[in-house]
Amino acid sequence: MTIAVSSTEKSMSGTADLRFGRCKYFAVYNTLTKECTFVENEAINSNQGAGIAASQTVAGLKAEVVLTGNLGPKALNVLNAAGINGYKIGQTTIENAISAFQEKKLSQITEPGRPQK
């Protein structure tokens, strides 16, 4: 399974970004190979609809799961349509977010959240 985590840095020990549409990178983790690659989120510079473009990016990366702080209504809409589930994380590192997900400690994001303060 492929997991995408919104990230502020290009490192497994780096801090996760609680914003989805305007996060800096996506950490893309493959649970079989245990490999993690980092992809720049081009949507960060979007004038509008960053959540939509970011959703498109993670769908293109074949992610099945997204770990992030919040999902806006449009992003949630696109992810749902692409069959990708979002799970909520708090202030944490990329590796801790992934283990928390694997240990089934995260709850699924089913309602659009408000933009991160």
Binding site: N45, N47, K117
Partner: protein, 289 residues
């Protein structure tokens, strides 16, 4: 807590109220001026710009004249009338270009580029009453909504270490910049005035805030200019269940305070200032903030 001060109609007293609230609260409160094409909040506080960065806003197309063969395809494609053939050259008028890239797609000569352009400057201003996140948009630039979002993000960066409170001075209207200012706020204060224009615009901005699910409060500024319309506004508010948290009398000192660059609440003898102090306390009581 995030509070946005908006009005629909311009010039009803947003900045007078926002600067007063900022003055009355402790200096930890972060001030955000989202009126990016006419930012005034910083004029009410002595301050110094401690951070300044270029802001790359909307994209704009540009024609590489050495590759362009003046085939006219882009001119026919552009729906915004931004491309013209002048003096033997095909040119893009940057102020009219929306950055959609349709021209790039039809250009077979690959003579058009599409890049982010600098559309403003974002600033952090340090004042005696704390920090202001603000921006100066280049007059005529596209994409003020994005700049508003950026100004709010900059404020969040300043405030990320602790659970900070934010007050946002919004812009007039109901369009993209206003929507970008309201989204994600906990509370909005709508400043209106008892004029037919003010009331009509109030109804439109009220309708907009309901879409964002933001808890709203109304303030009637210069209420004694037309007590009859003030009553109509109060009636409307009570019908839609929006609390009116105060009325401010017409006070000539307000203009003077703006020119002196001091929030009106710092004038002890000002009747408008006294009302705003009451309103701020009322706001805090009602929200528990």
């Amino acid at each position: 807590m995030q509070l946005v001060v908006i009005s629909g109609k311009g010039g009803t007293g947003k900045t007078t109220i926002a600067s007063s609230f900022a003055y009355l609260s402790d200096s930890d409160l972060i001030k955000i001026d989202c009126d990016v094409d006419a930012s005034n909040l910083h004029l009410m506080f002595d301050g110094e710009d401690i951070e300044k960065s270029d802001f790359y806003g909307a994209k704009a197309a540009e024609i590489l004249s050495d590759k362009c063969i003046n085939c006219n395809k882009c001119i026919e494609t552009c729906r915004f009338g931004a491309i013209r053939f002048i003096n033997g050259r095909t040119l893009i008028e940057p102020l009219k270009c929306e950055g959609c890239g349709a021209c790039v797609l039809v250009c077979e000569e690959k003579a058009i580029t599409l890049d982010h352009e600098i559309t403003g400057t974002t600033l952090i201003t340090k004042t005696q009453n704390g920090l202001i996140s603000r921006a100066e948009m280049i007059p005529g630039a596209e994409g003020s909504g994005k700049l508003v979002t950026k100004v709010r993000q900059n404020a969040n960066i300043i405030g990320s270490n602790k659970e900070s409170d934010y007050i946002i001075d919004g812009s007039p209207g109901v369009g993209c910049a206003v929507m970008a200012s309201i989204t994600g706020c906990d509370y909005c204060v709508i400043v209106t005035e008892p004029t037919q224009s003010g009331f009509e615009d109030f109804k439109r901005i009220y309708e907009l805030t309901t879409y964002f699910g933001v808890k709203g409060f109304a303030i009637i500024n210069k209420y004694d200019i037309n007590p009859l319309i003030s009553d109509q506004i109060k009636k409307f508010c009570s019908d839609v269940n929006m609390p009116v948290i105060g009325k401010i009398p017409f006070d000539k000192l307000v203009g003077e305070s703006i020119n002196a660059g001091c929030p009106i609440v710092s004038y002890e003898q000002s009747i408008a200032g006294q009302s705003i102090i009451k309103i701020w306390n009322e706001f805090k009581n009602r929200t528990g903030e």
